[in-house]
């Protein structure tokens, strides 16, 4: 086992991946969805519940969701984790599961999430308390925090609303190639610009969807992965950084913790941004892929706006970004990070039909949590990258 920058490069692989209930999934509970998609991911791998000895899940409105899902599935995990770094939790799970697999602590990790807040609105108001230092000013959570970061990026680097709109339009163009995406009607730059303004400079079309969906992946060590049903996708690097909780605590609103997580994950994997042709970047709002393209090194700081313009991250562009349609046009059920990983796995396996990135050997899945607070980067490859 070789550890590179603290990570066991290639020791663990994603061997199963599934999504379920994207768009609307009425009449069931979140844990019903998480259980259903877990079984689908295990079947995809050719494994069963009896193989699972580690469970990683972040239930949307149940703080003790790990125990809830273990009971529901009837398993007795050695490791049960309910990470609370928001939408980035799932990229953190990949890091933690890879370490536990490499150490021999566990043999098979199930990472699962399900939520249907659109069909089954929560009766509680979530699991976070309002910040006493921000709530009196009534920012819209979380859009106003991202709007503040956007305002600063525009001020410092000349980023425009047209640049932001290009991110939404590219996501929609990819969604049109994904039969599973929830929103597939055409979208133009002008439609984004003229959409209802929510919290300046972000319109409703700059904001991700609020819909239903479930996803799961299964991880085992590489030696076992070779004998399973589908091509195993090794985890080449995984790193995480937290810089703050509330937006008023973010050191620099134009520079995220992806600078740290990306640098470390790419060093572990032995790659640079220039080697990567698929970037799955958490698009909670149109500003986020722009920030992450800069912070992960796909372009220089401040050049993210021009980088995404002119269809450059749309189908046929210079870099494939968010090929499932992203949180903006495919699915965003409260937390989205696991869907990034599933799409990267499907692309690396060559399973994505019309939207397939040809001859793909490397992909990055970058998760974001809170209000740019938590950043987690996972580099995935094909077995021949090892």
């Amino acid at each position: 086992m070789t550890y590179v920058n603290g990570f066991p490069r290639g020791a663990a692989c994603i061997v199963g991946a599934a999504t379920f209930g994207i768009g609307r999934c009425p009449g069931v509970s979140a844990v019903d969805m998480a259980a259903k998609v877990s079984l689908m991911a295990l079947a995809d791998a050719g494994l069963s519940l009896a193989d699972v000895d580690a469970l990683y899940t972040s239930a949307p409105f149940e703080a003790l969701g790990g125990m809830e899902l273990a009971e529901y599935l009837g398993i007795t995990p050695k490791v049960t984790d309910c990470n609370r770094t928001g939408g980035s939790a799932f990229e953190v799970y990949v890091q933690q599961a890879a370490l536990a697999l490499a150490a021999g602590l566990i043999d098979c990790a199930l990472i699962a999430y399900g939520a249907n807040p659109a069909s089954n609105p929560p009766k509680t108001v979530g699991m976070t308390r309002p910040s006493p230092w921000e709530a009196p000013y009534q920012p819209l959570a979380p859009v106003s925090s991202y709007a503040l970061a956007t305002s600063r990026h525009m001020y410092q680097y000349g980023t425009t609303r047209e640049h932001l709109a290009a991110v939404a339009v590219a996501a929609r163009a990819w969604a049109q190639l994904n039969p599973e995406a929830a929103v597939r009607d055409p979208l133009t730059i002008d439609q984004v610009l003229s959409a209802r303004m929510v919290s300046t400079p972000l319109t409703v079309r700059d904001c991700c969807l609020f819909n239903d969906g479930a996803a799961a992946i299964v991880m085992v060590r590489a030696d076992r992965a070779r004998d399973l049903r589908k091509a195993a996708i090794p985890v080449l690097g995984a790193a995480h950084a937290v810089t703050h909780r509330e937006i008023s605590g973010m050191p620099d609103l134009t520079r995220t913790g992806a600078v740290f997580s990306g640098t470390q994950a790419f060093a572990q994997a032995g790659v640079t941004a220039a080697d990567i042709r698929l970037a799955m970047l958490y698009d909670a709002f149109t500003i986020t892929p722009i920030l992450f393209l800069e912070d992960l090194g796909f372009c220089a700081k401040g050049e993210g706006g021009p980088f995404v313009s002119g269809g450059a991250i749309a189908p046929g562009g210079r870099l494939a970004v968010n090929t499932n349609g992203g949180g903006l046009s495919c699915v965003h059920p409260g937390m989205y990070g696991l869907f990034l990983l599933v799409e990267a796995v499907r692309q690396l396996r060559g399973e994505t039909g019309e939207r397939q990135v040809p001859a793909l050997d490397l992909a990055v899945a970058h998760g974001n949590g809170g209000v740019l607070s938590s950043q987690a980067t996972v580099v995935l490859g094909r077995m021949d990258c090892l």
């Binding site: 009196p136 000013y137 009534q138 305002s151 303004m197 919290s199 400079p201 937006i247 605590g249 609103l253």
Partner: protein
Amino acid sequence: MIQPEAEWRAFLALGRFMIQRSPSTGAFVFHPRVAAPGSGADDLEWVEAAGTGTVYAVTTILRRDPAENYNVVLVDLDEGPRLMSRVMETAADAVAIGQRVRARIIQEGDQPLLVFVPA
């Protein structure tokens, strides 16, 4: 032990905008804490804020009629710390990044609230 939020609110109710300072490091701190972030210095003292600062980021929240739009800003205090607030006594959407502002304590409902106005 210091009670960071309760003591800060008690000062605010008396019409005083206080921040913290660590004599050993010279660092100013907001929001109030039991120790300075980064250094962990636990010698924090209350000091009167100058009350002047610069708008670092701004957003205006659009509401349906008849509700009025309002802004949410991040202000960099001249002492260094950044905080969330609102700029009043100007059109909600007329606040610009880089604009100089000064603090004011108003009553909102039954609570004192720290806001800013154009300097």
